[in-house]
């Protein structure tokens, strides 16, 4: 069978490097949980106990562990000082950029790497809502948040396409993260299954869910507020096409944002269709660019 990722050869600058990177395994990475520790203290604790690590150039709160290190078996993990997280998945919380005291929704939150990162960026103050619709995944979210010492989180179990503001006095959020369920092509370096079971039907089916989740997220975010849409997949059907649907049907627009790592702009043409020029404000991150997983991220301003 042809590699499904070959459909993106026309989008990347160096297809051979792209495929080679997709075939390499990823190192274990931990993010420092700044509710409980500082990067300096985590580095010192790892050094004291002989855990091998190296810094990640673009983010001082991320540490790449040596090949034989398992993040779960160390005092820093026990203390909730670190969270095992693929480095590129630290991107959406940076793009959402919440501040302490705000009202923030993470509508597809479990198992909680980005939720706990948002809590830390909020200094554990204000209202953070972590929602998911799967009970098993919610229990992972709760235990991860507890270990990280997050105390400003409300956990809800709702279908994000019909998210209700009732528990929150009907008041909308300042910022919403939509880290959408997706076909996960970009995680191929960790889970080769993601590509082995690939089908266009699956991609198109999940795009329908993504449109519903993003649409509702825009509705529950206040005018002037921010929505960040992210996936760990390359398929334009799940990225630009979902955003195109949002800007045509809801009061919102894509805005520019900065990232400290290499990326390509979102695309404006795919298959037989074209997308709005503003898609170029989105960011596509390919595995060969920063030696990470693949990722997509866009920032929207609501009601502007």
């Amino acid at each position: 069978m042809e590699d499904p990722l070959s459909r993106y050869d026309s989008l990347v600058d160096d297809p051979a490097a792209f495929h080679a990177a997709c075939d390499r395994p990823l190192p274990s990475v931990v993010r420092v949980n700044e509710i409980k520790a500082t990067p300096r203290r985590v580095r010192q604790a790892f050094e004291e106990t002989g855990v091998e690590f190296e810094p990640v150039e673009w983010h001082d709160g991320l540490l790449r562990l040596g090949d034989d290190e398992s993040p779960g078996n160390s005092w820093p993990f026990v203390h909730g000082w670190v969270y095992g997280q693929e480095e590129v998945s630290a991107v959406p919380a940076l793009a959402l950029d919440p501040v302490p005291g705000e009202r923030v929704l993470d509508c597809c939150a479990a198992p909680g790497s980005k939720t706990t990162q948002l809590a830390a960026r909020m200094d554990d103050r204000g209202l953070l809502v972590g929602n998911d619709n799967n009970l098993g995944r919610l229990s992972a979210l709760r235990s991860n948040a507890e270990r990280c010492g997050v105390s400003n989180l409300v956990v809800t179990r709702q279908d994000a396409r019909n998210f209700s503001l009732k528990p929150f006095s009907g008041e909308r959020f300042d910022r919403t993260l939509v880290d959408a369920p997706c076909s996960c092509e970009g995680t191929v370096r960790k889970n080769p299954d993601a590509v082995e079971s690939w089908s266009l039907d699956h991609v198109e089916g999940i795009a329908g869910v993504q449109k519903g989740v993003l649409g509702r997220s825009i509705e529950v975010t206040r005018s002037g507020g921010t929505v960040v849409y992210s996936t760990c997949t390359f398929a334009p059907e799940e990225n630009e096409s979902v955003l195109q649907h949002a800007i045509e049907n809801y009061d919102c627009r894509l805005v520019e944002f900065d990232l400290p790592l290499r990326s390509d702009p979102g695309i404006t043409e795919w298959a037989d269709g074209t997308f709005d020029e503003s898609m170029r404000r989105a960011k596509r991150i390919y595995p060969h660019q920063n030696d990470t997983g693949g990722f997509f991220c866009a920032k929207l301003e609501v009601g502007a």
Binding site: V78, H79, G126, L127, V154, S169
Partner: protein, 176 residues
Amino acid sequence: MTDGDEGAPIEENEGSRFDRLPATADERTVEGRPTRAAVVDWWVERFDLDPETFESYTFWEKGAGKVWAFADDIESPADVEGLGMTFLRARQEHWKPTTDAVQRFGREADRNVVVLEDEEARAFLRGEDTDPEWGGDWGYLIAAHEIASGIEPIGVGLYLYGELRSQMPKGRQREL
């Protein structure tokens, strides 16, 4: 009964939802529910914390005596799956802090903190009883150890008859 105006009615605790704790006993409407003041005083007193630590927190009961600490506030009762973190087990003779809360707030504690040696700390994390040097109170203590030039809480220990019984929950026990 001719007068319906005799103070707040007494209700039963509804265990499946979160109810905000009353500020003081005068505002209590649910029998046996601990007050916010009592919960904060217990923590501040037992571990000698700055009373301002919990100033912006709201406290909630879900289940019988399970108290949660939340850094913000929402409408009560709250029909949600989680609200802040588990904080304290009340409605029993000896109130018991949770592992999560001890790890989150215990770093600032100046009283009832027992600092374990390396080997003891590992045994405590495995869920085993230890025999540390301790001349202080009996009851629930914060078990801590030294790491990266500081004292860091590990969890809750019950000190009785010269022995520290690890209260690490099964899912948090580790062999390091």
